[in-house]
Symmetry: C2
Subunit: 358 residues, 2 copies
């Protein structure tokens, strides 16, 4: 059995969407057991309504909730008795394999680092997730956790991204690219050039630079970048997609023939677009820390949260953090000790004290 600890109170549709998603997941995945943290006054009725079978969950009453609007550091000070904190602590206490929350990304990121600590040798924890592409999905990191990075962070992002892609995309040798403003070696900042040199020497399947558009065009499996650029790329593409859908809706109302046309196309369009819906992509991991924590989008409805649960379950079943540690070890054995040592020294200094403007 895989045990998932879940913050029932975070997100725009909490707690009802969270409890509904647990119901969906219990039906789909017989090896899951849930620890549910939330306000009994709001959660117990929902558990009854969705008829969660008693042998598949345990409920922990928690009165405190971290507001989605609170600043991470304020939230953490006041978070001692909160559903988010307790869900993470269940992973620390080894009573859960993975934690999930739809609450604030910034707070979840900081709180997870504080409670679970860093994964040995990893300099910067990051937020890693799936983005739809024309043929399937692309793994991207960092999505907004590690704003200021250096080439060693990028190297470790590549390594962690490769492990994540092996598990979730089922690719043996994921193609890794560094996000840049062109594919020629002269393009970009010093950061990209240094990371390029480091990755070229590694045994990872490094294919060079990837441009913003390549994220969506199946040219690369893992896109590595800093949290600022990653977040900008993701949100810009989401904005473009929203504009597109709005225009499509407008176009379908312009004339009678357009209205009929849309009615005839609707089913096929919904099928095709379902590939890029949150119910197929939702669930970002906070990677590089001493446990599995998955962030579900704050606006997630039950099917999207259920996808995040399935992401957490896959990562737990495949023991992603052990895989990352093995890769770090194999680096040491393959003559890359200087990099690993350097990273370890720096991470010892930096971990826990770095500035996280999120």
């Amino acid at each position: 059995m895989i045990t998932i600890s879940i913050d029932a109170m975070g997100g725009a549709y909490a707690p009802h969407a969270v409890i509904e998603s647990i119901g969906l997941s219990i039906k789909r995945q017989p090896d899951l057991f849930f620890l549910i943290y939330g306000d009994p006054d709001k959660v117990l009725d929902l558990i009854a309504k969705h008829a969660l079978p008693e042998e598949r969950y345990k409920f922990y009453p928690v009165k405190g909730v971290i507001s989605d609007e609170a600043k991470p550091l304020d939230a953490i000070r006041r978070a001692h008795d909160s559903s988010m904190r307790q869900a993470i602590e269940a992973v620390r206490d080894k009573i859960a394999h993975a934690a999930i929350s739809c609450g604030s990304t910034g707070t979840l990121f900081v709180l997870s680092k504080v409670i679970l600590g860093g994964l040995s040798g990893i300099k910067h924890p990051a937020i890693i997730g799936l983005v739809p592409n024309i043929a399937g999905q692309t793994v991207m990191l960092d999505m907004g956790g590690a704003i200021m990075c250096d080439e060693n962070s990028f190297f470790q992002f590549a390594l962690m991204g490769s492990c994540f892609a092996k598990i979730l995309l089922k690719k043996d040798n994921p193609r890794i690219g560094i996000l840049n403003i062109g594919t020629e070696q002269t393009k970009g900042r010093e950061l990209e050039h240094k990371a390029y040199n480091l990755l070229s020497k590694s045994s990872l399947n490094f294919i060079g630079y990837a441009e913003g558009g390549d994220i969506f065009l199946d040219k690369v499996d893992v896109v590595v970048t800093d949290g600022f650029s990653g977040n900008i790329a993701l949100k810009a593409s989401e904005g473009a997609a929203k504009m597109f859908i709005t225009m499509l809706r407008q176009a379908s109302k312009n004339s009678l023939s357009a209205k009929i046309g849309m009615a005839l196309m609707k089913r096929s369009l919904q099928d095709t677009l379902s590939k890029i819906e949150p119910s197929q992509t939702n669930g970002a991991m906070i990677i590089g820390i001493g446990g599995i924590v998955v962030k579900s989008h704050g606006n997630s409805e039950a099917p999207a949260i259920a996808h995040a649960i399935s992401v957490a379950a896959k990562l737990a079943r495949d023991n992603i953090n052990d895989k990352i540690s093995v890769e770090m070890k194999s680096l040491e054995e393959h003559g890359m000790t200087s990099i690993v040592d350097k990273i370890k020294q720096t991470s010892a200094k930096i971990f826990g004290s770095q500035k996280t403007n999120i």
Copy 2:
């Protein structure tokens, strides 16, 4: 009359698309006169084919062409007798009001700075252009010219962007936002925080931070960012749009009813999507230098190049560079002399010697 000097040899569809675009522009805009720079063996026949009226253009035979693939600095060394260089020199020599090229952005950017010099007081020239949004267009800069920026560059980008938006969007008081990973004041890098403080004190219509998605959602008229983030945002959104169009095409082939539906919707869809086509948005200015140079996308066909020509003509008619200088002056008069002085000192040191990794 407005005189446009044009590099007939740059871009994927040169010279035929360029000459065709001149034909289109001559018909649409009676006040335009063209200086055409290109290889006579390739261009003269096209001029005859499109029957350009003799009183509306002058042809300058130039044998050299800057390859679209050449690295900027190599290209510049070898560029003495090239169509791109001569088109820019026409602006320097005051025989043209604005220059246009579909050639390599990097080369055009560097060559324009070298030939035309900086606009007084401007620290970093930038690439500025129009991006479609849900209700019209958004101005964005920098799009990939100035990779490493500081808060003074951002301040000047805002000022230049405001002038550009007044002319091209016809907005009296354009809303200016700094691209960031969230709208709260604590989000982002030190660069964004410092620029926020500077812009808050200015008389510009500064609305705070804009997220990646806001570019497309009519929340802001001018988006200010560094060339790395700007390029990533643009290309990521282009990639997302391409994915979307591919999915729409797939959906229209999935079933007979989808095929019929698409046929019925097609006209309306084309009308709606025409708003975001290059023929409505193409044309980016290299802003902050001593003359008007407009970059047309390398893959432009004639209607898109004609739009870039209309952008150049509008900027020339409205004397954008004079407007920027007036704004800089009014800054000095409104007690922002310390900023202006600081910028001037720094720009004197930096201009011409800054690293341009493009």
